[in-house]
Amino acid sequence: MPGRSGASHEMTDILRSERAAEELAAEHGVGDPFAAAIRAARMAMIVTDAHQPDNPIIFANDAFLALTGYHRDEVIGRNCRFLQGPGTDPAAIETLRRAVADGEDVTIDILNYRKDGTTFWNALNLSPVRGESGRIDYFFGSQLNVSDKKRVEFELGDARDRLEAAVEARTADLTQALQQKTALLHEVDHRVKNNLQLISSLLLLQNRRVTDPAVKNSLRGMLERVSAIATVHRRLFQSDDVERFDVSAFVRDLVGDMVGTARRDDIKVQLDLERVDIAASKAAPLALVISELFSNALRHAFPPEAMAGRNGEIFVGIARGEDEFRIEITDNGVGLESSASSGGFGLTIVQLLCQQLKARSETMPADPGTRVVVHLPINGGHH
């Protein structure tokens, strides 16, 4: 081998002979602290000869023999694939083969077999050793038993897989529960709406039968109240947030419907509505209060015989104060004293519901007409 140093030249010549390898390596070590260190190292190490067919082992230290359970005679002269077995990952073997073929370093964890058939995880490092010409003369391999580390890795992997499976199963459960809940909500919403429609239809049907004006008036009043609740439910499920209720949107719907139903083109409605959200649980009582007050103005403030060609006006305002919502309904009609307000039941409803809402209502003359203001505490507090 041209260009080699004397020492390695000499070593090559001798080590090529399989049988002589051990003896000569021992001899060689007498004056060579590096070889002595390798022989005595606790880490398993081998050297293979890249020039011989099938790259056989020409040197193995004691740690290698201890690790694999083979005698030195059974190792020298063989390719180190005898360490592989049925459980060895073919992909790892292919990685090794390719690294050797390409003359590259490789570090890989591979499952190896001892002579007695037991397995161990080998953290293998294999590096080509190049001579001065750049050709690969040897491969140097070091083996470390990492079975313990591997076992922990596998256990961790198993634990992680189990955890992931558990999380997945739980997520599936929750998703299903949510779907069921949503379906149920839709079903209940659907039933509530249909039943409200049914109640309205019943009242309308009966109203068609009766002739007594007082009974007709009562039925109309009840129909209005049911409609107010129906309007709440239409609005309540229109938004994605079923917990909050937009009062101003509701008032716009309600007022349009009531004015249309009353067929009073001579009454104009003016709205000044700040967007105000309340808890859904307060929506129906507040809706009834507003409906009752607006209906009162619509039905009683402007008796047709008192209009004399002029237009009436009802103002509805909603404003957010510091700690209360202020709902105002003002008409410029005939005023409380002269109105034929049925008073009774409608006002009782307003009083009772204001109690329930912890709200306060004030009625005052508006010159002309009447002003009613409802103060609704924002956080359900007392006045």
Binding site: H186, Q197, L204, L223, R234, D253, G260
Partner: protein, 154 residues
């Protein structure tokens, strides 16, 4: 208007709702040709009587078959369907070919306004303006009736 009243078919399995609705449509000037409570009845009556408008609930006696009824009336019977349902959110995006939807619970005034509006649309082939509160038109019919660029009232 001196024209003949438009024929309407009511497809609704709740008989009290249907009866009251029949009064309402007649008050607005439609002529009610009948009441169907199941999908089979609805399709048979629609293809037999050719109503100008069919008011269709989604839930009928034989289940949530109203969507298919609307599609069949539209495609095979040459009529126009209008949904009247509490399940507005569950309608397909194309409204199954129907011209629109009135959400339940509707008010007497809301239905009358919507039907009066639809009378003009059906007779003139053109909407007199944006649809009234409570009526939502399908995208296809909004375009057909000249409302393509205008957002409808919610």
């Amino acid at each position: 208007m001196g024209e003949r009243p438009l024929d309407v078919l009511i497809v609704e399995d709740e008989v009290l709702l249907a009866t009251e609705l029949e009064f309402l449509v007649e008050e607005v000037g439609f002529h009610s040709v009948g009441l169907a409570m199941s999908s089979d009845e609805a399709v048979a009556l629609a293809c037999d009587l050719h109503p100008d408008l069919a008011l269709v609930d989604v839930h009928l006696r034989d289940g949530p078959t109203g969507v298919d009824v609307a599609r069949t009336i539209q495609n095979d019977c040459g009529g126009v369907a209008l949904f009247m349902t509490a399940n507005v959110k569950r309608l397909p995006d194309d409204f199954a070919g129907a011209c629109g939807v009135i959400g339940k619970p509707y008010s007497e005034y809301g239905v009358k306004t919507a039907l009066t509006y639809l009378t003009v649309c059906l007779r003139e082939g053109l909407a007199p303006g944006p649809p009234p509160l409570g009526l939502e038109l399908s995208p296809a019919y909004a375009e057909r009736w000249g409302l393509n660029a205008q957002p409808h009232a919610v």
